[in-house]
């Protein structure tokens, strides 16, 4: 077979041919089949969401100046990846100008690498090393594949940019609504429900459904995008909190006395009397746990898949009414009146950690989706952002004029605080950075004091429950533009939902695995490993893995006399002993060096210092 010519070689006739080939020849059938190609446009226009905040050719120049909502290219385009390598020797003979698989940018691939190569490994034997190499190669390959498939994340987050020097916080909802397309403009709405008091609200995990409950017993669930009401009831009791369970078909409502569970038609399914006087609800979707914080000071975990209470933990800190979950590791954060925030797992009877955050009581806690930052607000009118990666130190602190009563993080790390009847939103620089509290990103005034806040997942929408009802406001760039169709698909059908439910139940994570480091499962239990080793040594009477004692090799020519053997043995022993002594000395030195002050030299005048 003739190899295809390289483009670099200059073979004039060929070049000509190539160029003519490149020009699209007119096919004789083209005139006939024009309508068919038009009909073959792929599928219905899917993934329309989040496009709403794309820049539109504005009719109003004034608004354009005020708020330019546009997109930025996020991922460097990898052009012509679709050109398959088989075409190299195909029918046309044309050569792939970009042979081989498309290059993957290193930093994108790095994102998917899980192996921490910074940690040094002890010296390993050849066999072990080969296994390690295999593992590393696998990791690299999978990460590259993952990085390649990032191309499929077609949607880009929206954003709001003021003209130079212009404050985005001054842009009001009306402006945004005017600038965006009709579909997304429809996502801004107000529900005037003045009768049934302040409302709490909750979006389902797919972001498609909204449930809200008023203090005076009004409970409703609706498909908020289409505004189709699913159910609306009055439970004739004070509603403290409301939460969707794993799907939009089940609804947990914390009522004055007990916890009730309704389905999406408003039929009461369960009344859980072991969870009484619940103030706050949280649902851990991967563990199928409903965490309830009660006035009696108990944190109760209810496994909704089997209907059992997994753990009821006494927080010993009085009434609990501040709770949030860490989406990264499913740890529950409770805020207490003594200014501390405690972190809980159902496997432990005591808090995993306790952080002193405020001088007064803690009013609100929120954790961002990466589990890196925690925002707290207290009675001392301060809003703090803590680093949760081991240090638990405040990264930034601000005093708010009235203190924030409610806090929430969006999927992309925007922080919203409800202060009285005002909602303030702060944004960070990038996705992984904490929100900078210097300048609010957006502000909005509501018709009543805020009572509940939540960002809608996969929609640039913030839902606010207040005394006047519910407000859904547009916050460009709040949420993840790309959803996982297998995990939480906003457009899923009933059948899909049922299938997902089965799958999710099969993949349910046991409750006892909740701990601060969710990757702990990928670690060896060192303590029991050592214990086992010790037991084995005891059982056998010797250490099978211990280094064999030195045995001098027999030598020729009369040098293998007993005396010389003993001498050699002694030498090795002495050497080892010396090593040991040296090491211990070094350690001592280290200790001393650590203990030693690094400050100024003692001076003669020190003796007069009192």
């Amino acid at each position: 077979m003739e190899t295809a010519p390289k483009p670099g070689k200059d073979v004039p006739p060929k070049k000509d041919k190539l160029q003519t080939k490149r020009k699209k020849p007119r096919r004789y059938w083209e005139e006939e089949t024009v309508p068919t190609t038009a009909g073959a446009s792929p599928g219905p226009p899917r993934n329309k969401k989040n496009r709403e905040l794309r820049p539109q050719r504005p009719k109003n120049a004034h608004i354009l100046k005020k708020s330019r909502i546009s997109k930025k290219p996020q991922v460097p385009k990898k052009p012509r990846e679709w050109k398959n390598p088989e075409s190299q020797s195909g029918l046309s003979g044309a050569q792939d100008p970009f042979p081989g698989p498309a290059p993957v940018p290193v930093e994108v691939g790095q994102k998917f690498c899980r192996i921490d190569k910074s940690r040094k490994l002890p010296h390993s034997k050849a066999k072990t090393r080969s296994r390690l190499e295999v593992a590393e190669a696998e990791e690299e390959e999978t990460s590259i594949k993952a990085a390649r498939s990032e191309l499929l994340l077609a949607e880009e987050p929206g954003f709001l940019e003021g003209e130079d020097g212009e404050d985005t916080a001054k842009i009001c909802q009306a402006d945004i609504v005017e600038a965006v397309d009709i579909a997304s403009a429809a996502k801004h709405f107000d529900l005037n429900l003045r009768q049934f008091g302040p409302y709490r609200l909750n979006y389902s995990r797919t972001g498609r459904h909204l449930a809200f409950g008023g203090r005076r017993g009004h409970v409703a669930a609706l498909d908020w995008v289409t505004k189709k009401l699913m159910c609306e009831i009055n439970v004739m009791e004070a509603v403290r909190d409301i939460r969707f369970l794993h799907s939009e078909a089940l609804l947990a409502v914390a009522q004055n006395r007990w916890l009730h569970i309704y389905d999406n038609q408003g039929i009461e399914l369960h009344c859980i009397r072991r969870c009484d006087r619940v103030t706050r609800l949280e649902f851990l979707p991967f563990h199928f746990l409903l965490a309830t914080a009660s006035e009696t000071g108990f944190l109760t975990y209810l496994d909704v898949s089997v209907g059992k209470i997994v753990a009821a933990l006494n927080a010993r800190a009085g009434r609990l009414d501040v709770m949030s979950q860490n989406p990264y590791n499913a740890v529950i954060h409770l805020g207490h009146s003594n200014g501390t925030v405690s972190l809980w797992s159902p496997a432990m009877k005591e808090p995993l950690a306790k952080i002193l955050c405020h001088r007064g009581g803690v009013r609100a806690v929120a954790v961002d989706s990466t589990g890196t930052y925690m925002a707290t607000s207290g009675l001392d009118h301060q809003l703090k952002i803590f680093d949760l990666r081991g240090t638990y130190q405040p990264l930034s602190t601000r005093t708010l004029p009235h203190g924030a009563g409610h806090l929430a993080f969006s999927q992309r790390g925007l922080l919203v605080a409800g202060m009285g009847d005002v909602v303030n939103i702060w944004a960070g620089q990038g996705k992984a950075s904490p929100p900078s509290l210097e300048q609010p990103y957006l502000t909005h005034r509501l018709s009543g004091p805020v009572h509940g806040l939540q960002f809608c997942p996969f929609e640039d929408v913030l839902g606010v429950g207040h005394t006047g009802g519910i407000t859904s406001m547009l916050v460009p760039g709040a949420s993840e533009p790309n959803f996982d169709g297998l995990e939480s698909n906003p457009y899923r059908s009933r059948k899909q939902r049922q299938e997902w439910e089965v799958k999710a139940l099969l993949e349910k994570v046991p409750a006892e695995l909740i701990c601060l480091d969710p990757r702990a499962l990928a670690e060896v239990d060192v303590i029991s490993l050592e214990q086992g080793k010790k037991e084995q040594i005891e059982r056998l009477g010797y250490d099978p893995q211990a280094k064999a004692p030195f045995q001098p090799k027999p030598k020729q020519k009369g040098r293998s006399s007993t005396a010389s053997l003993v001498k050699r043995k002694r030498k090795v022993m002495d050497e080892e002993h010396r090593d040991k002594v040296r090491q211990s000395l070094q350690q001592q030195h280290h200790k001393e060096a650590k203990a030693k002050p690094t400050g100024a030299r003692p001076s003669a005048l020190d003796r007069f210092v009192r």
């Binding site: 295809a4 003979g93 005093t399 004029p401 490993l529 086992g532």
Partner: protein, 767 residues
Amino acid sequence: MTANRLAESLLALSQQEELADLPKDYLLSESEDEGDNDGERKHQKLLEAISSLDGKNRRKLAERSEASLKVSEFNVSSEGSGEKLVLADLLEPVKTSSSLATVKKQLSRVKSKKTVELPLNKEEIERIHREVAFNKTAQVLSKWDPVVLKNRQAEQLVFPLEKEEPAIAPIEHVLSGWKARTPLEQEIFNLLHKNKQPVTDPLLTPVEKASLRAMSLEEAKMRRAELQRARALQSYYEAKARREKKIKSKKYHKVVKKGKAKKALKEFEQLRKVNPAAALEELEKIEKARMMERMSLKHQNSGKWAKSKAIMAKYDLEARQAMQEQLSKNKELTQKLQVASESEEEEGGTEDVEELLVPDVVNEVQMNADGPNPWMLRSCTSDTKEAATQEDPEQLPELAAHEVSASGAEERPVAEEEILLREFEERQSLRKRSELNQDAEPASSQETKDSSSQEVLSELRALSQKLKEKHQSRKQKASSEGTIPQVQREEPAPEEEEPLLLQRPERVQTLEELEELGKEECFQNKELPRPVLEEQQSERTPNNRPDAPKEKKKKEQMIDLQNLLTTQSPSVKSLAVPTIEELEDEEERNHRQMIKEAFAGDDVIRDFLKEKREAVEASKPKDVDLTLPGWGEWGGVGLKPSAKKRRRFLIKAPEGPPRKDKNLPNVIISEKRNIHAAAHQVQVLPYPFTHHRQFERTIQTPIGSTWNTQRAFQKLTTPKVVTKPGHIIKPIKAEDVGYQSSSRSDLPVIQRNPKRITTRHNKEEKL
């Protein structure tokens, strides 16, 4: 040969004689004993001598060694008394007969056959057989080792092993077998055939291909000739070089070397004229060579050869010459180039050379200044200073003279010469005065000559000043070290905080810089009041003063916490202030006041610290107290066992690992182990791993489809062994892995399917 034959004949004769004599001898044994004795012995000796001529057939004639009185006929002095009786001898008749020769031969043959050794016992035989068999089989089986290893390491094994190569026919072949059936296809093919468009490789028509392949004959010939010529030239050159290399004549080599040196010199001269920069480079090279020479002991007459020559030199003129030659070579190599140029200068040499040299000198001085040796540095600077001071008086008249000469240079060349001479003298005197500092000297002496050299002088001065300044600054630093701590105490964010900035840009050199740094940091602090920063700083402070009592430390920690919580954080600029606040401003103030009052007594921090202390205490390993009160002493109510005893029986618990929240005053992290989660963790290390971290590394990547792409997931979860249902898995054969099953079947295997083998090879090549 003749001697041998003679001896044989003699022997035969003597034997006959003997035989003949024997009866006689016996007869006259007693009577003629004495008389014949001598003659007999003589005869015997003769016989011996004769028989000894022939080495082969020597017959040992025994000699009676002991005198015996009785000589009976039984006590015959027999010949060959020491020998065994040979069977053949019995057969031997008096006269040799040929008929018995065959029997004799047979007998000898029978005798020559050795006795058959005893057979080994059965076990031993079996053992040997087993050993051999084992070795053979091991050798045969060892060829499977790589296969086994490969299969063990393989990610996936597919059974049954033999698989047909999937026939991937190139699309052209498929196309050629394909017939156009529908009218549309026919039309397309018609079009293609009309234009003679090739179906298989559409880019090139056969004509084009042919034209491409062809290369004109002339061109090819020319190219070939060119190549040939190049090859021939190369071989000539190589041969010549080889020949020259083999020449042993010293003189020849000397001449060649000299010629080379001359040539190099010439080239250098030329280069200097044409391209001064390149010449400078050359000079540098020479300088480098000089340096190398100075460093090495190559021509110092210290080698083995030189020592041996030194012994000889006293007597041998040649040896002496050789040594001197070497020394001279050393001198030549170590000679400083400058000297030569100096002389050139004196002769009114070109100034550009001098300029070339001047920077060298400056460089040297700089190098000294930068160098680590402070002694050298000091002496150098002082030398330069001295030189400067020494020159000062001379400089003035000289300068004047210089001016004069500059004014009337053309008119009085003689005067200039005089000046030059004087300079030379001065230089000499200077050299006498300061012999040690040769490096700095020539520079300083030259400096007076013209403006360029003056510039050099100024540079040198600047350098020395800088050096001085450095010294001073160092001193200042030393003195300021005492003051720094005080500064620290006064300033809120002094030097100590620097590590917080993570990168320490440079060492603080002077006090001013230090102050500036402090200012900067203060500024930064003002810009961004960060509680973390402050906290760390305050954490740092106790470290600085360890002599402070521990209570103080604790206090500081508390203060620290307070700091943390009470930092004045800037209030947010909010466009929309909550309405309630605006409306009821006074009420709000009241409210705030109320809160303040409410929390006044509520010491959150103290409570928290107390809690933390309790947690720390609870998590500490407990000591075991084994004292028995009343054992060996009085016991009872109110009596405590003595301190000594308590100390003796107290088993101290080993100190556990440091707490995670040791340095985090505002956090309590539980140290309890999550046993429920631990039950899910791996508790035993699998085989090849010796450390848990190694194993952890292999399980860190998730393999589920939630975290991976579909393809990656499939690849990660491929089964180790794949079998085809309904197929018999036969044991592996040599053919399956490309071996020949045995030596006999070698050929047939290859002949049977040569294609497969070649394909395998191809595959390997590809890999």
